[in-house]
Symmetry: C2
Subunit: 436 residues, 2 copies
């Protein structure tokens, strides 16, 4: 029985997922990110110390373990890849070269009740850079370039990366005279869910804002621009604060570098904040054109205080692609197709059971030259063997003989062929993923 929140793809969908993961990985590697994989479990204390996530954790128990496992020995499944990465860096900092750029493509688990497209097990593809002591800001400008290149390499609708900087919000709120900036941020973050009126009311009630202050917070949140013009619009609100200046300068850099690389890729969007507590500066989200109503498919930002060893800090910046979420949306809309449901390019037909070894040798020769090949499972009538290929979308059937021939079962064209030299068209060698 399917288990709610634990999606499984059929083989043709898994072929699509794998090709998408190959392209993600390839783009990450083009930028020099090294691969990493961490264990699926972390001590419960590590998981609980980062953010308000206690409700989301799956704990592990051995079936026959005694009742008295101490809390510090309790293990839970990781709920993201950033917390395990920070733990890995502090544990192995003596063996790593800094700045350390890594990517990590793994399942994560959240023990929440599944609802409206939320999964309990899902795949994420993350990049992060950490450094010892301080991390140059230009790494914040690199994240949108990598994500932009990833999405451009996939057969999916164009993506827009939304960027903000928490220093803008915090500095602005502080400059306005609001002390509990975290509470203001949490409240404004609900804007899309509850609307401006309820946000204003909540700011007045829970963050001690006046009507005028609440109005200013809303006006800041309305600002959105695809170039650095947002800076003047913020200035026009008349609030000043050193942290606000720093945030505006940083966000302008992100937007300008991205516009050099790929115009239209990013948008400064001053209402986004990201829920998790550990971000300290730049934050990123991504919307897919035509899928905006489903929300963001990436999540990331700068975190200056997530990892430390003694007095040494390891600040970082990173972004995570919600691969299962993205594929779930696209599969749900029938927006991705693949040319066949198996890797096989050629089926070798078996004329009679006593000739199977001969067919194996043909298959072996084709495989030796990189052509995925199966031998027909039975020596049935050729019509049935062709049907075996047709049902799976396999383009070619090979007939042993004097000489051998190979048939393109789409066109019906059949030609003489030698397994040591015949080559299929490059486009037929692997399954082809396309949009729609």
């Amino acid at each position: 029985m399917p288990i709610s929140g634990f999606p499984e793809w059929l083989p043709s969908q898994r072929i699509i997922e794998q090709q998408i993961l190959d392209r993600i990985r390839s783009t990450f590697e083009l930028y020099g990110y090294a691969p990493l994989e961490t264990r699926a479990v972390e001590p419960l204390d590590t998981l609980l110390s980062k953010g308000e996530t206690s409700k989301e954790v799956y704990l592990l128990h051995r079936l026959q373990e005694d009742e008295n496992t101490k809390r510090e020995d309790q293990l839970g499944l990781h709920f993201d890849l950033t917390v395990p990465f920070a733990r890995f860096v502090t544990e192995n900092h003596g063996k790593l070269q800094f700045p350390f750029k890594r990517y990590q493509i793994q399942k994560v688990w959240r023990g929440e009740r599944p609802q409206e497209g939320r999964y309990r097990e899902f795949l994420q593809a993350d990049i992060d850079v950490v450094n010892r002591d301080t991390l140059p800001f230009h790494f914040d400008t690199e994240m949108p370039l990598v994500i932009g290149d990833v999405f451009r390499s996939l057969p999916i609708p164009p993506a827009t990366i939304l960027v903000n900087n928490r220093k803008i919000c915090e500095g602005f709120y502080r400059g306005l005279g609001l002390a509990d900036t975290a509470q203001v941020l949490r409240t404004v973050d609900k804007l899309d869910k509850i609307g401006p009126e309820k946000v204003a009311a909540a700011l007045i009630e829970t963050a001690g804002a006046t009507d005028a202050q609440a109005g200013q917070c809303l006006r800041l949140a309305e600002i959105s621009a695809t170039d650095a013009s947002f800076v003047d619009r913020v200035r026009a609100l008349g609030v000043t604060d050193p942290m606000l200046d720093e945030g505006l300068d940083e966000l302008a850099q992100v937007i300008e570098v991205a516009n050099q690389h790929a115009p239209g890729l990013v948008r400064a969007e001053l209402k986004i904040a990201r829920g998790l507590d550990y971000y300290t500066g730049t934050v990123y989200e991504t919307l897919l054109q035509g899928y905006e109503r489903f929300g963001s498919i990436t999540s990331g930002g700068r975190y200056d205080n997530l990892a430390s060893v003694g007095n040494t800090r390891f600040p970082g910046v990173g972004i995570s692609i919600g691969v299962s979420r993205l594929l779930g949306l696209l599969f749900g809309q029938g927006a991705l197709t693949v040319s066949r449901s198996v890797p096989t390019c050629v089926v070798v037909a078996v004329p009679s059971d006593d000739r199977r070894l001969e067919c194996d040798r043909i298959a072996s020769a084709l495989r030796g030259r990189g052509i995925p090949t199966e031998v027909s499972p039975t020596a049935a009538k050729f019509g049935k063997q062709i049907q075996f290929a047709d049902r799976r979308g396999i383009p070619f059937v090979w007939f042993p003989g004097e000489p051998d021939t190979v048939k393109d079962i789409r066109s019906g064209e059949q030609v003489e062929a030698d397994p040591e030299t015949w080559q299929p068209p490059a486009a037929d060698l692997r399954p082809v993923v396309s949009a729609g």
Copy 2:
């Protein structure tokens, strides 16, 4: 802190693992196996119904779940990939094409006490074929060919695949007059651990064998051959039984097909049985030359009764490569190395901070042509920037100028170069994994 039994590789080791996984996957696909990934969890009842594995299961609990979760709702992490695969097939049989060949490369978990190189979280790479009703025997002969091709594609010592057939053992024991064949099998399976005398004593004590019967069982277990000569040696023991005949015929086919494909790859080894209960015919193990003392690095066999829907059976045959086990052994002996610890082929040096955008454009051009490139993190002295590359094993440093130049920091050779045309030697494009 490291957690015992949950291994983690450093980035350079993960590069090795990834390249090995790429080759495993590529070989699996050359034989037409389609990719599949199943969820990490199964209902506890599914896990417990297959074999004596109760002690090995990790159960999941949500941190804030109520105490009264019913047993049928309990989830556990899968301990292998065969049980989830059988479940997937019965659940989706209406959507699959049979015979269904799939590969699956995933982590599995076992909640046992870690000891002597046993892991609690480890990576397996499995292939299986299942069919509706009956599965042609020739698929049993394919498994060693795939595994042989996989191992030949890796920079590791030669592998020998050991094959047996449970029908030989069961038929022989029955022909001898021993009724509890399962008990005899379990006892003989301990031969390597406890030696022939204790096995004989245990056969007499727990399986009701006479001295003569116990002696015959041991003589069968001693038989080992790289060709079909084992058949005559079994016949010479004078036991007859129809199931024995069937087993001998099947095993001879496996050996003969493998010898056609790659002489020396397989060995009939009549003592191996595999612990799990679900195998019904062929069983496989694999030893790595020079690493025999560490035991088998693959495990597999034919299972005719693992999956069924109503009266329809889905018999299968498969084999699993213990990837973490293999890598753990090889890393432990320093038997694998990689030419660099990052994917990066070129570092673009930054002459001064105001020229970073220019450096980004060079990097972008190189990446656009598939060359993994990083821009130096700081505009330090060039000596420091070269050191950045050298410490990671990155072969080339690019110097922007009029004209640009690129330096091979291994040879010191520096030449003029254009980011739109320059190409590194093919061998330098990706990290190279090699033996020793």
